[in-house]
Amino acid sequence: MRELLPVLIVVGILAALAVFGPFIAPNPPNAIDIPNRLAPPGGEYLLGTDAMGRCILSRLLHGARWSLGLAFLVSTIGLIAGSVLGLVAAMGGRTVDWAVMRVTDIFLAFPDLVAAVVVAGVLGAGTSSLIFALTVTGWMRYARVARGIGLGLATRGHVVQAQLAGLSGPAIARWHYVPALVPSLTVVWTGMLARAILGISALGFLGFGVQPPTPEWGTMLLDARVHIRSTPLQMIWPGMAVVFCVLAINITGDVLRDALTDRDAPA
Amino acid sequence: MTIHVDGLSAVRAGRTILHPTNLSLPQGSRIGLVGPSGSGKSTLCYALIDRLQAEGIAVAHVPQSPDEALDPLRTLAFHWRQAERALGIAPDPARKGDLFRALRLQGQSLNVRPWAWSRGMQQRFVIAVALLAQPALLILDEPTSALDPVIAAATLSLVEHHIAETGTTLLIVTHDLGLAAARAAHLMVMHEGRVVEQAATADLLARPVSSPAQSLVAHRNWAVLPC
C-alpha cells in the first residue's frame, strides 16, 4: 500500500479543503458588500471581491466543497459502475462480454463533454443532472481497464483453482479479481477525478451545472466573465484553483502509475 | 588444449555467491555441472564465460529454451546473419551446410520465423548458431527442461556426435545428476556457491565424498529397470 501514499496525501489535502474549507473561510460566501464591490486583493478581503462585493477567498473555499466534492462523487460512482460492468464482461462469457463492450464502445463514441452538456441540457440545469451527465459519460474507461485485466486473470492458476473449488462468481470476483484491479483502477480514478473537476467547472461555466449563487468554481468563472477587462484577477483566482487541483491530481496519477507499473506484471 | 581458469568468484549485494573456484576442462571432454537450484551454477557459467572471452577463447552458451534465444518477429535467416556479423565472418555456405547437416536441419528454409519450426528444431538451430563461432567450449544450460524427452535425447546425441569430431569441450549444466551422469565423463558438484566435488563420473557415482554429492547420488534416478 506504500505506493498509494502520494495519492492519499494529495487527495487528503483536497478532501480536507472540501470538508473544512467553509470553516476557515473568513466571510460568509454570499454576504454582499456593495461599497467594496470589485475590490482589489489585500486589505479587508484577501483576494478581493466580486461584482456584488462577495469575498472571493471565502467563495473559493466554499466552492471547493462543490467542485471537489462533486468531482469525487462523480468519479467514484463511475469507478464502481464501470468496474462492475467490466468484471461482468470479463467473467460472464463471450456473449455477455460482447454485449457489454459494444455498449461501452457506443458511449465512448460520443465526445464526452459535449454529451454531458446535452444530457444536462435535456434534464435541465442543476446539481443532480450535472452528476448524472458526468457519470453517464465517465464510466467507460473503468469498464475497459477492468475487463482487460479481468480477461488476463481468467486463465491464471489461482482463478482456475477457485473455480474448481466451486467458489461462487461474486466470491471469485471479490477475492481474486478486485484485489488485482485496485492498482490500475486507482490510476484511472485519479485521471477521471481530474476530468470530473474540469467537467464540473466547464458545465458550471456554461450555465448547466451548479446554479448561482452557490459558489462553485466554474460558476464563479461565469460570473466574473463580464468583468474580465476591468478586474481580470476575479477570473484568475477560480481558474487557478481548477488548474492547481487538476495538475496536482494528474501528477499524483503519474507518480502512482510509475510506482505500480513493475509490481503487477504477471509472474 | 585444456581450458584453465583460476580464482573465479562473484559477489552480489555484499554476499559471496561464488566462492573462488579453479577449473580445468580438458579439451574435448564432456563435463556435467550439477547442483540444486540456487547453488550458483549459472553464476559460475557467467563468470566462466566472461573470463574466457576476456582471454580471447571462444565460448558459446545455449539457454534452456529457444524462446530465450530467438526473436519471434525475426526470421531465422536474420538470426543467422546477425550471428555472422557479430563474429565478423563472411557468409560461408559450406560451413553452414556442415552445421545444418550435423544437426539434421538441412533442406529447411530459413526464411521463416522461429515458431514455424518445432521446438526441437529451434533448439538445434540455436545450437548451430552457437557452434558457428567454433567455440572451444559449448555450454548447454538445462538442455532437457524445455524439450520433450525424446527430442532432448536426440538433440544431445547429435550435439555430442558433432563436437566429438571438432574437439569442442561440452559443459552440461543441470540440477539433475541422472542426466549429467548419463551424458558426461566428468562431474562437478556445486553447493551454496562452491564446487564441492569434482571427479570422473564413475568414481563420483561409486564413491561420493561430500554430503551434497552423496545426497545427489542417492537420489539420482527415479527407478532402476532390470537389464
Binding site: V160, G166, L167 | S37, L179, N221, W222, A223, P226
Partner: protein
C-alpha cells in the same frame, strides 16, 4: 472409479483428443505420458469439466463428475496461488466454497504428511520456496478429501532432488487418503517410480495402455519404446543388473 469413455474433443476445428478411453480405480495412480501437443492439457480440462467433449464422456462411478469432486495440482506452484492472499486462506478455499468447517486435526495431519510447517502457511506464495509452494498446492487439493486428484506436470518446476522428495510425500499421503491420482507428465522416471498404470498419449490418441511393470519392461508401441529409451538416455531411468 474414474471412467473416460471414447472421449473426442475438437478445438478450433482440430481433433485434439480422439476416442480416448481410460479407467482409474480408487487409490491407484495412472500416469498419462506424452509430449507437448499430444493432448494432455485437453484431457485434464475434460476430466475437470472445463470443456465439453464432442462425444464420449467422463464419469466417476457412473455419474458425471461434480464440481469440487476433483482437484488439480498445477505445474507452476506459485501461480496457482493468489499472491495477495495467505497460503492458508487459499488452501482452505475448497472448504469455504462449500461451506464446510475447517477440520483442524485433518489440516495439521495433512501438513505433517507433506512436511509443511503450519506457520509457513501464514505467508504469501512468494515468501516460500517453490517446493514448499507445490506441497501447499497438494495440501489444497487434499483438504476437501476429493476422491480424484489430477496432477498436471506437478514436478517439472522443481529441481531433481526436490522432485523425488515431493513425489514420495505425495505417494505416502495417497496411501493414507486413498484418492485416485491421474498424473499427466512427460517424465517417465516419475511414472516408473510412482504409477501403477501407464497410458501413452500421442497426437490425441492412446497409443498404449498397460500396467507400469509391463510397460517399462517391454513397451509394445514403437513410440513407447522411444520414450523409454529417451528416459534411459537422459538418466531418468537406469538399467542395472538386479
Amino acid at each position: 472409479m474414474l471412467t473416460v469413455e471414447r472421449l473426442t474433443v475438437r478445438r478450433g476445428g482440430r481433433e485434439v483428443l480422439r476416442d480416448v478411453s481410460l479407467s482409474l480405480a480408487p487409490g491407484k495412480t495412472l500416469a498419462v505420458l506424452g509430449e507437448s501437443g499430444a493432448g494432455k492439457s485437453t484431457l485434464i480440462a475434460s476430466v475437470l469439466g472445463l470443456i465439453n467433449p464432442e462425444h464420449g464422456m467422463v464419469s466417476w462411478d457412473g455419474r458425471p463428475i461434480a464440481r469440487g469432486a476433483v482437484a488439480l495440482v498445477m505445474q507452476e506452484p506459485r501461480a496457482a496461488f493468489n499472491s495477495r492472499l495467505t497460503l492458508r486462506r487459499s488452501v482452505c478455499e475448497p472448504l469455504r466454497a462449500r461451506g464446510l468447517p475447517e477440520d483442524q486435526d485433518r489440516f495439521f495431519r495433512l501438513c505433517r504428511g507433506l512436511e509443511l510447517e503450519p506457520d509457513l502457511l501464514a505467508r504469501r506464495p512468494n515468501q516460500i520456496s517453490i517446493g514448499q509452494a507445490q506441497r501447499a498446492g497438494v495440501l489444497r487439493a487434499l483438504i476437501a478429501a476429493p476422491p480424484l486428484i489430477l496432477f498436471d506436470e506437478p514436478l517439472s518446476a522443481l529441481d531433481a532432488a526436490t522432485q523425488k522428495h515431493t513425489a514420495r510425500l505425495i505417494s505416502a499421503i495417497q496411501r493414507e487418503e486413498g484418492f485416485a491420482a491421474l498424473i499427466v507428465t512427460h517424465d517417465l522416471g516419475y511414472a516408473a517410480a510412482h504409477a501403477e498404470n501407464i497410458a501413452v498419449l500421442r497426437e490425441g490418441r492412446i497409443e498404449e495402455a498397460a500396467d507400469a511393470d509391463v510397460f517399462f519392461r517391454n513397451p509394445q508401441s514403437s513410440y513407447g519404446q522411444s520414450l523409454v529409451n529417451a528416459a534411459v538416455a537422459l538418466g531418468a531411468l537406469e538399467h542395472r543388473a538386479a
